[in-house]
Symmetry: C2
């Protein structure tokens, strides 16, 4: 068997299973994601292929279960310089997907005994795998990144605003995240690149088929310093529903989402809705009230109970997303741990345990502070935080992270 | 002596004293206002004329005290169809000035032993008198009125927005309040009149000298159904500081203030600041972030801790100011009553007492409900509310008025 491209040393069976899952299931299916979480990717892929998966998983996958060939997909990917990144990979963006994961766990529990209701715009659930091109830091995405979203049919006003923000933010080291469409998406990427910034293009179709073709060169440029990402395998057409489910990834990849212009119902408003769902800050740029393309922004600014924040400049956006990871709710991996504290701590991997030991009990610390305190790298800290959060070992607030309330103010538990 | 034009049966000595005070003192002087409140207008005018007023009052009035001739001012007014309205008049806008009065009482107390500091934009203090032209309902102003303020050098965008709002609000029976300048002021008045609405022009100079002259015909039209008002006597030039102090009257006359366009420092922003000071809702219309003329609006929308409300339509404004008097903080007349409850109630005039007796102890009532419950006319209710509020007999909330917390939940006190 060919050695397929994946990041880090990933078990080939896991890689092939993730590729298969990515092909058989449409994006954003909670039943499929929950099943994979429960039994693992290899057993899940086998069960789907044999037709022995639970009914909700079976119905979501039966159309393609006999036709999917992960080896072909992985070979095609390799030919196009595309690699497959799985949750088991070392560079899976745990931090970015923490909000989606928390939502998905909650919804999966809510629906445990009832049927899942499909949502047109996609459930908030992490992808089963990511197809990736480019040199950017996938694992760290979401720590200091801003989605800029607007209209395909952008007005000159919107293009001007988007260009200013993307150029300025890119120049300040903020990764710009957007789709790959003409209009605002393209302006955002181009302007960030012009400002020596990195960009992440989140595509709705397979990366071997740049869509629209007119932006193919832009995607190549984006991949040189940043990333081009899709949850759909090579060859997938960018169908309408894939744009809507794709939007949740744009929101997830971003510390905050800026809507520069949006009609009242639009892809940009849909991305903002995803950001609200996973608890990320949403910002909106006001515009003329006489322009239908600003109606969506004004609606976001008046949204009850949580309105978008009004931004008019790079400084405004930096004030919202400037601190590393600050203000981000983080979520969990795996299942909630039970049993007494010692058992809980014993289940932590050594890195998570070091981060736990570095958590302050009073003043919350930010990830960079935790890195200093623990001697664990910032990226490793960011990966460990969701584990500690879901194990209820840690409290998260706008100010940062500290030891969970149930473990305070009694003396902080150490080894035993 | 000629019978000078005033509304209702006002003691001629009071009328002449108020005319004199209006002439000798520049607008918005807290020392002068407090002195007049303390000793009454006749004694205050006498003391100023004789040079026996307190130092802070003397210094604010000495320049004109020997030159002011109220008879000449009243005669000039009469020739121009201008009447003088005093706080002692039956149509004094007590409701509109309640917020200013509360602020002025507080500031006067704060400064009781220290010198007053003059403020460039005018202290929040009611006028000593009003010079008025027109047939509109002065006493009821502020109950259902909206200030629309913007730039003299308005952009086409602002003119369009202002015209839409003023026309629509005027057509819904909302009185439009603004200054008399070219630009947004004029567009607001013209559009309200076009929508069969009433308007109130608040002038910075004497009403015998329409300023700018080009708007003279507009002022005449405004007076036919509405009002043209100034706190400066006939002949006064509209000097710069009078525009700033005038702005507090625009805010006071309005249930809420809408800023349609404003540079970061502007008369419109100054009017909004007055509205915030007296606790009236401020609304702002967003615009292109590329326009310097919208910067003031966006600043208001992001103001901490109380931001202006974003409005884009007549419906939005109606949602903020639609209910009669709802949401308005009201303030008080005279001084806080002391002593036991019976003594407090005995000091109320019969109308205020009837309104007090109609106050609910639980669910707050609006003025129109209180009118129904008490059998007192809505206008009389509106005049009585500030008295009850300052006597601490009543609580005011966004939902309306009810008996003061200190008188709840014990059985509601009646006659004794």
């Amino acid at each position: 068997m060919t050695s397929f491209p994946s990041s880090g040393q990933l078990d080939p069976a896991v890689l092939r299973s993730r590729a298969y899952l990515s092909r058989v299931a449409e994006p954003a299916s909670i039943p499929v994601w929950a099943f994979v979480q429960q039994v693992g990717p290899v057993a899940a892929a086998d069960a789907i292929r044999r037709g022995s998966a639970p009914a909700s998983v079976g119905s979501a996958t039966e159309a393609r279960r006999d036709h999917a060939d992960p080896d072909i997909d992985l070979e095609t990917a390799q030919r196009h310089g595309i690699r497959l990144v799985a949750p088991e990979s070392s560079d899976w963006p745990h931090f970015a997907f923490a909000g989606l994961e928390r939502c998905a766990i909650r919804r999966a529990r809510d629906h445990e005994r009832g049927p899942f209701t499909a949502s047109g715009s996609g459930e908030p659930v992490p992808p089963l795998a990511l197809w990736v091109k480019g040199c950017g830091d996938l694992a760290g995405i979401g720590v200091r990144s801003v989605a800029i979203v607007g209209s395909r049919a952008a007005t000159p006003y919107d293009e001007h605003v988007t260009a200013d923000l993307a150029y300025g933010l890119g120049g300040r080291g903020v990764v710009i995240v957007s789709g790959g469409a003409y209009g605002i998406d393209a302006v955002a990427h181009r302007s960030a690149l012009a400002g020596q910034g990195q960009t992440v293009v989140v595509s709705a179709g397979g990366l071997d088929r740049p869509y629209p073709v007119g932006n193919a060169f832009l995607f190549e440029r984006a991949a040189e310093s940043g990333l081009v990402v899709s949850e759909s395998p090579p060859g997938c057409a960018p169908q309408r529903h894939r744009f809507l489910t794709r939007n949740r990834l744009i929101a997830a990849f971003s510390t905050g989402t800026v809507v520069t212009e949006a009609a009242i119902r639009s892809g940009a408003a849909n991305t903002a809705a995803h950001a609200f769902t996973i608890g990320r800050p949403v910002m909106a740029v006001p515009g003329p009230i006489t322009s239908p393309m600003s109606v969506g922004c004004h609606a976001l600014l008046r949204r009850e109970p949580d309105a978008a924040q009004l931004v008019t400049s790079v400084d405004d956006v930096m004030a919202v997303v400037g601190s590393i990871g600050e203000g981000l709710p983080v979520a969990g991996l795996g299942t909630v741990l039970d049993g007494d504290l010692r058992a809980e701590l014993d289940r932590l991997d050594p890195t998570a345990r070091r981060v736990f030991d570095a958590l302050p009990s009073r003043r919350p610390a930010r990830p960079d502070e935790l890195a200093l305190r623990s001697g664990v790298s910032a990226v490793e800290v960011i990966r460990a935080l969701p584990v500690l959060d879901l194990a209820d070992l840690m409290d998260v607030s706008d100010a940062g992270y500290r030891i969970a309330a149930r473990l305070r103010p009694a003396r902080r538990p150490r080894t035993g």
